[in-house]
């Protein structure tokens, strides 16, 4: 170890000797060679660093170098719009004063580049950051500024179909890992000049671009400020996914409930923005965050709004039922079989105890056994390579189903309970709330195992109280249920037709009117059409 340390110290001394010549000021040098030397030193032996030197033939010959990172740039743009356009003979007539390096620099800046977005930078750290985000840096000999041209590109995933929030009817595109693409996907849906973006870089090492989006005049300014403040307060080394941001800005980190919504669907983000919410897009992940969040959002799927309202309402209501089953299914089974047998109708009770005959465990242990093995199975199924996943599900079905019952370890009714609970859990449209239900289910099972329905009821009261105490950026988590906002119930447990929902949630949005009160469904001019639908004026 000592040898290694000594060698390291020696090497460090040598490199720092060579560094001393290059580094130093935070500004660019006027000398092209010195700048290039310093770039090479700082970026080390990175194999994707490309330095292309060439001569610019204006009235006088000028040394120019284009520097870019091969892997982060779109090579076509670099070649076509920067290098070729500089070398092309059809450049406009050079004006006077072109002989001086500054004149040449201004001329190149103004006339000679065919790329969309350029800026002049004199600051060394900014330049190296620009270089590392995929821009091409153009250095001119004899002048201490450089031109950064936007040539960002490189390998990235194309926009593909959403993999976590699937719809039968509705747009199929989803976010990708590039923040520019993602912003574009939302921008394409909302064509208003009020659409505002604020971009900040978070992460001292990763320098991740985080974009905050909202619609001016609809989003509430205090909430916008709060989001901005919380984002600015983040001081960490790395942001690799929006989950990092979520944990830094969420209101209550002790709660099992998610208080920030995430989605990979641009249509959901657009809908939320129009409701007055604020979206946060993080570079490098397809999952955008949406704040402020209320609980009912997690029961909402994009498709509710695309299918007709009766179907949408039914399905949404079903999800709430599923959530209750996912939370209380096994707990109710335990409570009934261990504490409250007298509550069951006699035939059912006989049936139950008959099937439980020979099971060597109390119901609590039986339920824990099955639930835990199911959770393990599910986890195994998710992380496994697809080919192995099939084998997992076959083995799992055998273990959880037939074999366990035949071996007499669990009762067949327990298998039914576990399966229904699991399926109910899958039908919650948002994964992070489904995980909450999974966690809390075990607590309720314990409560039921020790105190029956009394324990479950106490747990439920505490759970509801806890949910009442939650807030997301100042908005009560259970609203519009508590505090009561009946005007928002049109889009809560059920979804009424679009023309009935005339206002945005007033605890989220600044401007709430969505449509004039005269807006209603189509009615035939003779009045025989949709009779009975209210709110329609001729």
């Amino acid at each position: 170890m000592r040898k290694i340390t000594e060698r390291y110290e020696r090497n460090k001394k040598r490199t720092s000797d060579s560094d001393r010549t290059a580094s130093g000021s935070s500004r660019l040098d006027a000398d092209l060679n010195a700048n290039l030397e310093r770039i090479k030193n700082e970026l080390g032996t990175s194999p994707d660093l490309v330095i292309r030197r060439f001569k610019l033939r204006l009235k006088k010959e000028l040394q120019v170098a284009a520097v870019y990172m091969d892997t982060l740039t779109d090579k076509n743009i670099v070649n076509d719009f920067i290098i070729r356009s500089l070398m092309s003979p059809s450049l406009p007539e050079p004006p006077d004063g072109i002989e001086s390096p500054e004149g040449a620099f201004r001329y190149v800046c103004d006339n000679a580049l065919a790329v969309g977005q350029i800026e002049a930078v004199a600051d060394w750290p900014t330049m190296s950051l620009e270089l590392l985000t995929g821009k091409t840096v153009l250095l001119v000999d004899g002048w201490d500024e450089c031109i950064c041209g936007n040539t960002m590109g490189g390998e990235r995933r194309a926009v593909s179909e959403a993999s976590t929030q699937i719809v039968i009817r509705g747009p199929k595109d989803s976010f990708s890992e590039s923040v520019a693409t993602n912003v574009g996907l939302v921008r394409r849906r909302i064509r208003t000049p009020d659409f505002a973006f604020e971009s900040i870089k978070i992460g001292s090492i990763t320098q991740t671009t985080v974009v905050m989006m909202y619609i001016k005049n609809i989003a509430k300014p205090p909430i916008i400020d709060e989001v901005r403040i919380r984002l600015r307060k983040i001081d960490t080394d790395a942001i690799l996914e929006s989950g990092y941001i979520e944990e830094f800005i969420e209101d209550n980190w002790l709660s099992p409930f998610p208080t920030i919504y995430n989605t990979e669907r641009p249509d959901i983000v657009a809908a939320n923005l129009i409701e007055g919410r604020i979206a946060i897009i993080v570079d490098g992940t397809p999952f955008a965050l949406v704040v402020p969040t209320v609980m009912s959002q997690f029961f909402t799927a994009a498709e509710d709004y695309y299918q007709r309202y009766d179907i949408g309402s039914f399905i949404r209501f079903l999800r709430y039922v599923a959530f209750v089953i996912a939370l209380f299914g096994p707990a109710a089974y335990i409570a009934l079989t261990t504490f409250h047998q007298e509550m069951l109708p006699t035939p059912l009770l006989i049936n139950l105890s008959g099937s439980r005959e020979g099971v060597p465990f109390p119901a609590l242990v039986e339920a824990f056994l099955m639930e835990i093995s199911f959770e393990i199975l599910r986890e195994a199924g998710i992380r496994m390579p697809r080919a192995v996943g099939q084998a997992v599900s076959i083995v799992g079905a055998l273990v959880l189903g037939e074999a366990a019952v035949q071996a007499g370890i669990v009762s067949p009714i327990m298998v039914i309970v576990v399966s229904i609970t699991a399926i109910a859990n899958f039908s919650i449209p948002s994964y992070n709330l489904a995980i909450t239900a999974r966690l809390l289910r075990f607590l309720f099972m314990l409560a039921a195992g020790f105190l029956g329905f009394y324990g479950v009821m106490l747990g439920l009261i505490m759970l509801v109280a806890h949910m009442n105490s939650l807030r997301s950026f100042g908005v009560a988590y259970l609203s519009p249920l508590v505090p009561v906002r009946p005007e928002q119930w049109k889009d809560f447990f059920i979804r009424l037709p679009h023309w009935t929902v005339r206002s945005r949630p007033d605890n989220v949005a600044e401007r709430t009117e969505k449509m004039p009160s005269g807006q209603g469904p189509h009615i035939d001019s003779d009045g025989s059409g949709n009779a009975g639908s209210g709110g329609v004026k001729p």
């Binding site: 509550m343 029956g452 329905f453 009394y454 009821m457 106490l458 109280a465 249920l481 508590v482 505090p483």
Partner: protein, 370 residues
Amino acid sequence: MKTSTENLGPLHLFSWIVLFELGSAVVIPIGIDAKQASWIVILLGCGIGIVLMAAVYGSLYRMFPDLSLTGYASRIAGKGVGWTIGFGYLLYFLYIAGRNTRDFGDLLAASSYDVTPVFVINVCIVVAVGYVLHLGIEVFGRTAFIFFVFTGGLFLLILVLVMFSDMADARRMLPVLPDGWQPVRKALYPTNVTFPFGEMIVMAMFFPHLKQRWKPIRIGIWAMLLSAALLCVAAFVNISVLGIEIASRTTFPLFTSLSRLRLAEFVQRMDAVVLLLLIISSFFKIGTFMLAAVLVARDLFRTDNYKTLIFPVGLVVIISSILMAGSLTEHLEEGLTIVPYYLHLPFQFAIPVALLLVGWIRRLGGNVSS
């Protein structure tokens, strides 16, 4: 006592009061000594409670809208006497919280937890109450609202069951006054003027927390009317399903009557509904008294953060709930003969009336500013 951070909404206070009034009263038969006239006892008790509320607690509240009970006690009666009165209320609330906890534990043990120790039942509910109180008054009110809706659903279910099953016979409610007015008067005084409607005195601790521009007294009166109606429904269900003989003899008639009701061979043994009612309403009743005790203690001992007091108050409630009586019989005997005369009547009637009178006199003299 002016807290702007924690505000109760009107609906939340309303549901809170309803659940509070239903607490244990919905399971223990009220005024069943008066036989078929028990609904008259309930309504009269409610009427007296409303008069007390509007005339005494209401006047005191109007005199000092920003102050709670302990606040205006010391404002009216002076620092020393006021502090003593406040301390008396602290003990009163603590005792009643302990009593309710004990009631609840015994009820639960008798109804379906016969092998679970009462101590365990009591500890669990006090811990749960403590957790919810820790989240604040506002959260307590909001939670009450959700469970009020839940309770409403349960009552609706009971009503549907009674109406559509052939077990209930409304003629069992007759005659209206089987033995004349004498039993009604007996049932009313002292037990049912003080319980459950006289216990509204505890709400005087929370009125200042109601959002501005809402009138707590009016909300309280409507909530009392609704809870009286619900209690009458319970009395009606008991007597019409069981008949007065069985209803007056069983300990928990609502359990018994709901276990008899059945609908379409499938809906039966609905006594679970009563269990849920009992747990919910008792939770909010114990919570209310504990919260009141915590707030009184905060005012008396000048603590900034009342949440630090939840633990000691909870501890006192648990221990006193176990130690206050050796047996269930002793507990009930105390509750029927001692508590109404020596605790309820002074703390619900005498002291507030005295405070009001002194307040009026001193206001006439111009000594008290609100």
